[in-house]
Symmetry: C2
């Protein structure tokens, strides 16, 4: 690859100033220029295959065109769906997304500040709501253009979340309508889980039923698998589970099976979220679908607004609205357990 052309090369070839080329390249609306001059410049650009040097632009405009997306480990399909949508929306608006690992960053205490002070990105998408290091994250989020996922609304924070309580309430109500009375909620620590647990309680209360304390199990299938087995093996009674996420539900699913119980004959299972693998489980998983992709796209959009014009507040992603997807993992309470 030979040395790429610079603005000055184009200007020289076209016989005009760099100023003019720059304004043409950037479609400066205030520019009045003769059509044939413009054509000459265009031709020179094409001939030299000119592409603006992004670092030079970034330096001059103090804008990188980069957004940082900080996650607790990328390896959850819930996140992936959001990241994917965020990347697409960003690309549409001529931004790129950099992946950052919250854990790695937390290791070096001031890595986040370095990123911002060093003008590495124009803004940050931060995945919150899962308890760990939440305070530090919020502190950072207040300092820089950012959108924070799943955090509770707070001053100086731009947040985005689902109507978590409603989603969990819908899931729980579905089980109640199937005749279940002993329903257990499985979540983790953090604000998201707390909101969903509230929805679970609300549904039970509306039906005049008692709620159990949440099983705090983490979010990974391996963790929820173990928690489910422990719960079941300890002889505690439940005819149905509400899992706080589809990934969590996967472990509950395998945990129930490993305990020798059948889904849905012995135990029903439903999760909040709906991810691509849910329909492929055996039996397929019932869910309350939440628009994860929308969340990623909206967050990018809010972040871009935020960069030009700082503003805080909470956005609830509610379009499309949560809806129940009934598959094979929920059924009327069986005669053996009623």
């Amino acid at each position: 690859m030979r040395k790429p052309a610079r603005l000055a090369d184009v200007a020289k070839l076209a016989g005009v100033s760099s100023t003019l080329v720059s304004r043409i390249v950037n479609n400066d609306p205030t520019l009045r220029v003769r059509d044939d001059t413009r054509d000459t410049v265009r031709a020179a650009i094409a001939m030299l295959n000119y592409t603006p040097h992004s670092s030079a632009r970034a330096l001059r405009n103090s804008q990188t065109g980069l957004l940082g997306f900080a996650l607790h480990g990328v390896n959850d399909p819930l996140y992936v769906e959001m990241v994917d949508a965020a990347q697409s929306e960003a690309a549409r608006r001529n931004y790129s997304v950099i992946l950052m690992n919250i854990e790695e960053l937390a290791d070096r205490r001031d890595a986040f500040h370095e990123i911002m002070l060093g003008h590495r990105v124009d803004g940050l998408l931060i995945h919150g709501g899962h308890g760990r290091g939440e305070a530090e994250l919020q502190e950072i989020a207040r300092d820089v253009p950012s959108v924070m996922f799943n955090a509770d609304a707070a001053n100086g924070l731009r947040t985005v979340r689902f109507d978590d309580a409603r989603a969990a309430e819908m899931a729980t109500r579905h089980l109640i309508e199937l005749g279940h009375r002993e329903i257990v909620f499985l979540g983790d620590i953090g604000a998201t889980s707390a909101r969903r647990y509230d929805g679970y309680r609300r549904a039970l209360a509306a039906a005049g039923l008692p709620s159990s304390p949440p099983v705090v199990a983490g979010l990974s299938p391996d963790e929820t698998h173990d928690a489910t087995r422990r719960f079941l093996d300890s002889g505690m009674r439940a005819t149905a589970f509400v899992a706080m996420s589809t990934t969590a539900a996967l472990g509950v699913h395998s945990g129930i099976v490993a305990s020798g119980l059948r889904i849905p004959d012995d135990v029903s299972l439903i999760s909040v979220h709906d991810v691509w693998f849910a329909r492929h489980l055996n039996p397929p998983l019932s869910t309350v679908a939440l628009p994860l992709a929308q969340m990623g796209a909206v967050a990018v959009s809010l972040l871009l607004d935020q960069i030009s014009d700082p503003i805080d507040g909470e956005t609830i992603i509610d379009d499309p609205a949560p809806h129940l997807v009934v598959r094979g993992s929920t059924a009327p309470i069986g005669p053996g357990r009623s």
Copy 2:
């Protein structure tokens, strides 16, 4: 956030030149400086919370510290595991990873060249081996520092892949040893699938068994689900399937179940790769594990070498070596089907 300090601010505060500060910040090994001068500068840096402006550096050094990772849709856990590892390895070496969508880029024919000519990234990780647009990708890969996944070795290309034939051979041999004789391979188009199909054939040939043509089904669970149902409903015989990836296997799994057959009683199933969800299926999925994370990390490492010192060639990721993980989806051929 107030305006961040610049190099000149530090120099002024410390009462030295920018040159000196720069060389201290960058740990210039040729620098001889009095200890107390160095301490003064260090103190000034700390006091002003100085962090180098990354765009200015990028412009000056013609290096962005950014690596592009171009994928066919990020939404496959196989990729995610690689991306995750790539991100970590890059971070360890002070690089960041930008996500790029091959499909989106292909839309604008010269988007890739724009990225490279525009110095957006220092190098490219390109996910190949799946047939579509392979020729264009290779053309690009030849032009810029890059590492290409899963492509067949070719002149001017730096490639990285698994020993695909061996992995598929191990999977197939496992089925043969269980007594299966009618074994079908499920793959997609592209070089990766072709190599795995070869391994499948090799195992069958070694046992003196005939091989069937591959079922070409795509890679997503929805696609392989449909292909499996079509295959089974058409009355074609098979007592076992080898799926080219774990994600593909998920759809085969649900397709078999949806056809009313039992795993492993009626049909055994094994996949190449081993991903986090495999152990949570019902029954759990047998696999031949391949080191996906290693692949991501090694690719980054090769790419970084590649940037300073262009070189082509093929690297086979073989550490840890592929190994059989027997779970519940494979069993000796049953009496009903023998």
